[in-house]
């Protein structure tokens, strides 16, 4: 009985196949054809507008810097595989409010090694008052300018507690000790306050005797005033949410990794470095950090890096820095 049923079923299936053979073949072809284009995608020709090269420049400096670094390039179409090209013969000038040129960089300062302009200063950049104007002039381009004002030196107090906190390691091996910082920063109610906070440790190479400061990874508990700025490896502290509480930036708690002493790689010194940022520089850091963080999200749409250059792209930003050696 079962055999009869099996044979009958097979005959029925065969008959059905013969009856609809052409349909089945068409379905198979359609199915096979679909595989390639659905797995590889299809190129969509997009009519991009023609790129008219524009000037871009970035100059970021703080009052403690002993070198001014500037990048100048021409914009390129996104379809240009070579990308944006550096401009080695631009004239970059910084002038103060009275129109006096403070610093100037030219082709002599251009380094083909890193495609950047470098100007070594005799002493540090210094705290400048008033509005500073950046002007970049390059052949075949309109002059681009930007203005920024250096914020006052950060005013703050702090407490430091060696191994003041413990946390659970990401892989669950147990406790990990952290050094704890509590920071009181000034919140000037007349302006937007933005600070970038770093903790650096000084490592000494016991073979060469050379020493280097290195950034430490900082952590914090959820706090609306703090965001981690990956691109600079610092904590960005802002008073965005308040304009009426002068104590808003008090008692900011964060942590840095604690190094055991007595080990050969233990640091020889620890320092707290705080930069007060001009509003333009804070916006620039935030936008660059956000865009770099969106890289893996295929559903995110492109977002513009903050620019403050008239007629061009890039950022002119100033900062003032305070450094204390943590005892």
């Amino acid at each position: 009985m079962a055999l009869f049923f099996l044979i009958t079923t097979k005959v029925t299936v065969l008959k059905t196949y013969i009856k609809y053979q052409s349909t089945v073949i068409i379905l198979l072809i359609l199915g096979l054809v679909s595989c390639g284009k659905f797995s590889d995608g299809v190129v969509h020709e997009v009519a991009f507008p023609e790129n008219e090269p524009r000037l871009s420049a970035t100059l970021i400096v703080n009052d403690e810097d002993e070198v001014i670094i500037t990048q100048v390039s021409a914009t390129a179409s996104v379809l240009d595989a070579a990308g944006p090209q550096s401009i080695p013969n631009a004239i970059i000038s910084l002038t103060n409010e009275s129109g006096q040129t403070i610093y100037s960089l030219g082709s002599d300062n251009f380094s083909s090694m890193d495609s950047l302009y470098h100007l070594d200063l005799d002493e540090n950049f210094g705290t400048l008052t008033g509005e500073i104007t950046l002007a970049v002039d390059a052949p075949d381009f309109e002059i681009v300018t930007a203005k920024s004002t250096m914020p006052p030196k950060p005013s703050f107090t702090y407490t430091y507690e060696y191994r003041g906190d413990s946390t659970i390691t990401p892989w669950g091996e147990g406790y990990e000790y952290q050094d704890k910082f509590i920071l009181d920063l000034e919140n000037d109610l007349t302006r937007a306050d933005n600070y970038l906070v770093f903790v650096d440790v000084l490592f000494e190479d016991i073979v060469s005797g050379n020493s280097n400061w290195e950034n430490q990874l900082l952590t914090y508990r959820p706090d609306n005033r703090i965001t981690y700025n990956n691109i600079t490896n610092g904590l960005l502290i802002s008073d965005d949410n308040t304009d009426s509480n002068s104590a808003y930036l008090s008692e900011i708690t964060f942590f840095s990794k604690n190094f055991e002493t007595g080990l050969k790689w233990s640091p020889t010194s620890l320092r707290l470095r705080i930069q007060a940022l001009s509003p333009e520089l804070a916006s620039y850091y935030k936008s660059v950090d956000m865009i770099m963080g969106m890289g893996l999200d295929i559903f995110s749409e492109p977002t513009l890096v903050y620019s403050n250059l008239s007629g061009g792209f890039g950022c002119f930003g100033l900062a003032s820095e305070s450094i204390v050696i943590v005892e």
């Binding site: 199915g31 659905f38 997009v46 147990g174 609306n224």
Partner: protein, 793 residues
């Protein structure tokens, strides 16, 4: 004078006018009232018309099948009609007000009407504009992906209603967002209507009696959303016999059972649906796991929904309905690895669920006054998390778990009155109060490393409680033989976080009969919305977050004006409508912010509010009768947005701004056994933003002076300045029906995307073979054949 007092004064004035209307007619008229219902099942026929032929006045039954028609004393010829039923003509001699239950018999014209602007009336007769209704029988005959019929995907074929992306169920009505659609299942709002990440909706067609969408000209009884009102009503349950309907498709199986609890007194309906991909692949997974006993992996995905309804006629004047719905999606993967005496387990899960209950009480206070009182409870929750447990060789246990959850819990009470003072007026008024509890995303962390080290904490925003309420009144009346109007007002308020919002929303619609049978219609509606959906505008992910208006987030508001022409040419109805809608308080993530970045942070800091507008024209030609039926819809539309924090504050096209949208729907009965259907649709490509140019930049890097990190920055175009390729697709379906005296069997073969067009789901920059940057589009649904089998008895 306070706003509250103004509202009260307006309503007092309107009530006085309504009462005066009644008094002026009361002494010379009598009322015929009752229900219009299916003669065989007792199912209420909402929208059925009761028409007095000799004086040419009529009324449509409300959503509970109740009608009330007030006529002068004396003899009258009454005609009752409903789509797909034999008309019933009878004579009454009115010397008193009488109650009359009208039982209509399903006729041979069941398949004659396909899409109607109203269940019976000609499109040029009704005041309401911008409303569409599709019979469920018709929905079941259209092609469906995977053989699983989806109500919302059918709505996307109507002019003015667009889909979000390939295969998704999101509705974008007249330039609005998905959260601007009030989706009512038996009168209860549903928040998330998605199964399978948005590819199916939660509405099970076998459990549904009727479905309609209103895109504009909203009557005053509706409120709370800006763009559309979607009303879906579940079957009441057969009052006389037991019936069942079973469907098996390649995606899911469904079973619906209905019947009397007490014949002609009480009935029930239960419908269940579940996918079974997880069950089908279980043997394959077990086989794969058996190859390596030390490592087992158990992926899972399923969704189910349950619909139930009880219907009890307590007396001639009272009726109670209890409706319930529960639906859930569960996606996840569990794995376990063993290393000798130690082991490690990981469980990742993502699930979301809806549940609603509604208790409704119909009461007839008299022949002219009908009320419905509703108590509802609605829950929506979304959870995702990961739970890792390690057992060490020393038998120590280590556990780390993180669970993110969000949701809404609503309790509501509502009362609606229908009052028909005379044959020229039909008044509706009522009130509603809703208590919301929003949980806008919190993360629970559990870390347990034994007795000495443990952490159990919750990070995230606290629940937000709010109360909203509204009152409304509307009157549909005839000013003359040529002019009908519906005028009303809807007043609402929200109390949240010690803040209050008020909104008075006038509503008006007008139908003016032109020569040669044309009707000119126009409407105005102001709307307010107190809940918002934060979404990435891409997939209809359950990660989309429902949030309320708060002290910082103002409510969304809109006003819409529409006008159009309508006429029936023989068997073909033609309508043309134009509309303009202005919106305020629209909510969006700021540039770069999204669900992934909001863990542990305040969502209010990541959003921005702006304005928008939408305008366009919709053209619909539909053939309602005969063996060949269908419609052609065309929409020409624009939809724009402006946010101070997006696109440098400039206006930009909404992501789903779609200039042209065409749909062609055809159903043909070849014979009693064979029915075929075809759907072709075309839409302008979705808007997207692309980078146009690049430049070089740097940031200082490292603790030593002079360290820099250089990078190439991209300059995007104006937001949404580019378009993906146009969307077009052909779906085909053929159904073979075999009927016997007691049962019918349907075999449904369908093909989705018959000519295998790659419709882009997303696009991303890429490189061609020569290394040149290009834009590459990816689709997800190729040509998909499917089969379903349905058995009814």
């Amino acid at each position: 004078m306070s706003l509250y007092q103004k509202i009260i004064n307006i309503f007092t004035l309107i009530f006085t006018l309504v009462l005066s209307i009644n008094i002026s007619f009361a002494q010379v008229n009598f009322t015929i009232s009752g229900h219009v219902q299916d003669a065989s099942s007792g199912e209420q026929l909402l929208g059925a018309t009761v028409w007095c032929e000799d004086i040419s006045v009529g009324v449509a039954a409300n959503i509970y099948g109740f009608y009330s028609l007030t006529l002068p004393a004396g003899k009258h010829v009454i005609m009752a009609r409903y789509i797909g039923y034999e008309p019933q003509r009878f004579e009454v001699d009115l010397t008193n007000s009488v109650k009359m239950e009208i039982n209509l018999v399903a006729g041979t014209t069941l398949d004659e009407a396909v899409v109607t602007g109203d269940a019976f009336n000609k499109i040029e007769d009704v005041v309401q504009m911008s409303k569409m209704e599709i019979p469920i029988d018709q929905v079941k005959r259209l092609p469906a992906i995977g053989g699983e019929v989806d109500l919302l995907k059918v709505l996307q074929l109507l002019p003015g209603v667009q889909s979000g992306g390939e295969g998704t169920s999101g509705l974008y009505v007249r330039g609005g967002s998905p959260d601007q659609n009030l989706m009512l299942l038996d009168g209860v709002p549903l928040y998330s209507v998605n199964h399978l990440f948005g590819f199916f909706s939660v509405f099970n067609a076998d459990a549904v009696k009727s479905m309609s969408i209103t895109k504009g000209g909203y009557p005053a009884r509706f409120g709370g959303r800006l763009s559309s009102i979607l009303e879906i009503n579940m079957k009441d349950g057969h009052m006389k016999e037991y019936h069942a309907d079973a469907t098996i498709s390649i995606i899911a199986s469904k079973l619906t059972v209905e019947g009397p609890i007490v014949k002609d007194k009480a009935s029930f309906m239960v419908s269940a649906r579940r996918t079974y991909l997880d069950i089908l692949i279980k043997p394959l997974i077990n086989k794969a796991n058996s190859n390596n006993p030390d490592v087992t992996t158990d992926p899972r995905y399923f969704f189910y929904d349950l619909n139930g309804k009880l219907n009890w006629k307590i007396s001639n004047k009272d009726r109670i309905y209890f409706s319930a719905f529960k639906g859930q999606d569960d996606f996840g993967i569990a794995s376990e690895e063993s290393y000798g005496s130690s082991s490690s387990t990981l469980d990742f899960g993502l699930d979301w669920k809806n549940a609603i209950q509604a208790l409704r009480w119909n009461h007839e206070w008299g022949p002219r006054l009908f009320s419905n009182t509703t108590l509802t409870h609605s829950i929506y929750s979304f959870n995702t998390g990961v739970d890792i447990t390690e057992i060490t060789q020393q038998n120590d246990s280590i556990r780390m778990a993180a669970l993110y959850n969000s949701g809404i819990n609503d309790y509501a009470g509502r009362i609606d009155f229908d009052y028909a003072p005379n044959s020229r007026h039909y008044v509706k008024f009522g009130a509603n109060v809703t208590n919301h509890t929003f949980s806008p995303g919190a993360t629970s962390l559990v870390l347990d490393f034994g007795q000495d080290v443990s952490l159990d904490t919750v990070i995230g925003p606290e629940d937000i409680h709010s109360n909203d309420a509204f009152v409304y009144i509307e009157d549909e009346f005839e000013l003359s033989d040529r002019l009908k109007v519906n005028i009303g007002v809807h007043a609402s308020t929200l109390r949240v976080q010690d803040s209050s919002y008020y909104s008075v929303q006038p509503r008006a619609a007008l139908n003016f009969r032109l020569p040669k049978g044309y009707a000119f219609k126009t409407s105005f509606a102001k709307m307010a919305q107190y809940v918002n959906l934060l979404t990435n505008e891409g997939l209809g992910l359950p990660t989309d977050l429902w949030v309320p208006s708060t002290a910082r987030i103002r409510p969304q508001q809109s006003w819409q004006v529409a006008m159009g022409l309508a006429k029936t040419f023989g068997e073909i109805e033609v309508s043309l409508e134009g509309y303009y809608k202005a919106m305020d308080g629209l909510l969006s993530y700021k540039e770069g912010a999204s669900f992934l970045f909001s863990l542990g942070e305040s969502w209010e800091d990541q959003v921005t509010q702006g304005i928008g507008n939408a305008y366009g024209a919709e053209f619909l030609v539909q053939k309602k009768y005969g063996s060949t039926t269908g419609w052609i819809g065309y929409t020409l539309s624009w939809s724009n947005r402006q946010f101070d924090d997006i696109n440098s504050g400039n206006w930009y096209p909404f992501t789903y701004d779609r200039r042209h949208d065409i749909s062609f729907v055809l159903t043909h009965d070849f014979s009693d056994k064979w029915t075929g259907s075809a759907v072709w649709l075309y839409g302008t490509g979705r808007a997207l933003t692309l980078s146009e140019t690049t430049f070089s930049a740097y940031v200082p890097n490292g603790a030593e002076q002079g360290g820099v990190y250089t990078f190439t920055a991209e300059v995007p175009s104006e937001k949404n300045a580019f378009r993906m390729s146009p969307y077009h697709r052909l779906d085909l379906s053929i159904t073979r029906t075999r009927k016997s005296e007691s049962a019918s069997r349907h075999l449904i073969l369908s093909v989705y995307n018959a000519y295998n067009n790659l419709n882009p789901f997303f696009a991303q920059p890429d490189e061609d073979d020569d290394g040149n940057p290009v834009i590459r589009e990816y689709g997800i649904f190729p040509f998909i054949p499917s089969i379903a089998w349905r058995y009814s008895f």
